[in-house]
């Protein structure tokens, strides 16, 4: 129980220190508003449009795969923890190892399928590709 009290106390400190620094800074720093000072940085140019746009994240297939493997790691953790104690208690190795191998094997088949279908790659945006190829045409 006192473990979690300590972690909670560290959370309080971990948020308190940054807040304290923000507070000190608020007391120290000047405020000199000027025309154009708050403009967003775009290599010195006048910024064009907002950054809150629909944006092609080119790894959404990888993100889907990540979910699958993330759940796999969560499910593997209990197995990893009991493996050594169970071995020491005299459970035969094959009985412990084979179910895990089957479980990882199923996911490996999935990964191979995704790999062959090009899901674990940086997706090139079709629109950007078209623009590039059109530009290259005479």
């Amino acid at each position: 129980m006192s473990d979690w009290i300590a972690i909670g106390a560290l959370a309080v400190v971990g948020i308190g220190i940054p807040l304290g620094m923000m507070g000190v800074s608020a007391l120290l720093r000047p405020s000199v508003p000027e025309q154009g000072k708050r403009t967003i940085y775009e290599s010195g140019e006048v910024p064009t449009g907002s950054a809150h746009i629909r944006f092609n994240i080119q790894y959404y297939m990888v993100a889907l795969l990540f979910l699958v493997f993330d759940i796999e790691t969560v499910l593997l953790f209990p197995w990893v923890v009991i493996y050594r104690p169970a071995l020491n208690a005299g459970v035969p190795m094959a009985r412990l190892l084979l179910p895990m191998l089957a479980f990882v094997g199923i996911l490996t088949v999935g990964l191979v399928w995704a790999w062959r279908n090009g899901a674990v790659e940086w997706m090139s945006s079709p629109r950007a590709m078209r623009r590039k190829t059109e530009r290259n045409q005479p």
Binding site: S2, A6, V13, M22, S31, T39, F55, F66, M93, L111
Partner: protein
């Protein structure tokens, strides 16, 4: 020569020691004691980043590139540390137009807080009678990774809320990087748990104290870096990517996207990001030391364990700076290929191999 064993370690953790020393009663007393202990540990971490950020990083880079750095104020330029702290905190805070306010302000809080929370379960060894570990729950090892990975949430918040295109790209790159490296990192960490059979961090360290073999009178301890160097290499690379250091610093990539998610941050907010990043480097080093380098063990009595812990963590920091000076940055498509086609497969191979080996040895 005897390797410093932790068998003499006191059973009490740091918060308990503080509570008992001050004689604080009840649950409230326990919480106050824990707060004091956490504050002290937090300040040790702040001191690390204070030395690393404005001073050591510059000195190391200068040494690598054959230049002279920070030597104007104080001995070895050390007084640059308070000077930089005051200077950075006294800067004007410029909030960009169209920033997404609550998120823009919260992101610099989340990054250092997540890194500090990661230190909760790290056994930092003894310093005299003081046992520098805040908590030792049964799920400790998994908990550090859980806390450390909150960092990417902060990077996305900052990247999106800044209303800057470079920041947006930086935030999205941080996500891609974490997607690619989180799983190899944790699966490699699992291969350590296969050896120990416990997620309790003190037991992970204790399992590395036995002598592995003796060469010419020197006892080699069974640190997992020596027992399983393959896993150590994998973990080192995945750790660099997790904390976003070269060659995997693409979320910042100063020469490509200015500073990524940091572009629009100034004053205290920028300091907090900088601080959070250094804390994450040290957390990465602490996890590495705990899981592979025998935690706080080393030659000499157990009561100087903290010194060895600091040496190991700073060695990792030096390694990240070495990589920063020596290695080119990978491209983002290369990063995804290294992560998903290389590291993921290798980390699972490592886990299965380790499990088989442990099984053969145990039976």
């Amino acid at each position: 020569m005897a390797v410093g064993l932790l068998d003499a370690a006191p059973a009490q953790l740091f918060p308990e020691q503080v509570t008992n020393a001050l004689g604080l009663p009840g649950v409230v007393g326990e919480f106050v004691g824990a707060l004091i202990a956490a504050f002290l540990v937090g300040n040790v971490m702040l001191a690390f980043t204070g030395v690393a950020g404005p001073w050591a990083k510059r000195k190391i880079t200068a040494a690598f590139t054959d230049r002279i750095a920070v030597d104007r104020i104080g001995p070895f330029g050390l007084l640059i540390i308070p000077a930089a702290a005051v200077q950075l905190l006294a800067k004007e805070l410029i909030i960009p137009e169209g920033a997404d306010r609550p998120s823009y302000d919260l992101a610099p809080l989340v990054l250092p807080a997540s890194a500090m929370l990661g230190f909760a379960v790290i056994p930092m060894g003894q310093l005299g009678p003081v046992n520098l570990q805040l908590a030792d729950p049964e799920v400790g090892f998994a908990l550090t990774f859980a806390f450390a990975s909150i960092a990417s949430v902060s990077l996305v918040m900052a990247g999106y809320a800044s209303n800057n295109k470079y920041s947006l790209l930086g935030g999205l790159r941080a996500v891609a990087q974490n997607l690619a490296y989180e799983i190899p990192l944790i699966v490699t960490a699992m291969s350590v748990v296969v050896f120990t059979g416990s997620l309790r961090t003190s037991e992970i360290v204790a399992a590395q104290q036995e002598a592995l073999f003796t060469v010419a009178g020197v006892t080699i301890p069974s640190w997992f870096a020596i027992v399983n160097p393959f896993a150590f290499g994998l973990f080192l690379v995945a750790n660099l990517a997790e904390i976003g250091r070269n060659p995997f610093d693409i979320p910042e990539a100063p020469t490509e996207i200015v500073a990524g998610y940091q572009t629009e941050y100034s004053s205290a907010y920028f300091v907090l990001f900088y601080l959070g990043e250094f804390l994450h480097i040290f957390l990465g080093g602490a996890i590495l030391a705990m899981a592979f380098l025998g935690g706080a063990s080393g030659p000499g009595p157990a009561s100087i364990g903290f010194v060895w812990f600091v040496v190991k963590v700073w060695a990792f920091f030096l390694f990240t700076q070495w990589c920063r000076s020596a290695l080119p940055r990978v491209r983002i498509d290369q990063l995804i290929e290294i992560g998903w086609k290389g590291m993921l497969v290798l980390s699972f191979a490592n886990l299965i191999l380790t499990a088989v080996l442990v099984g053969v040895i145990a039976s």
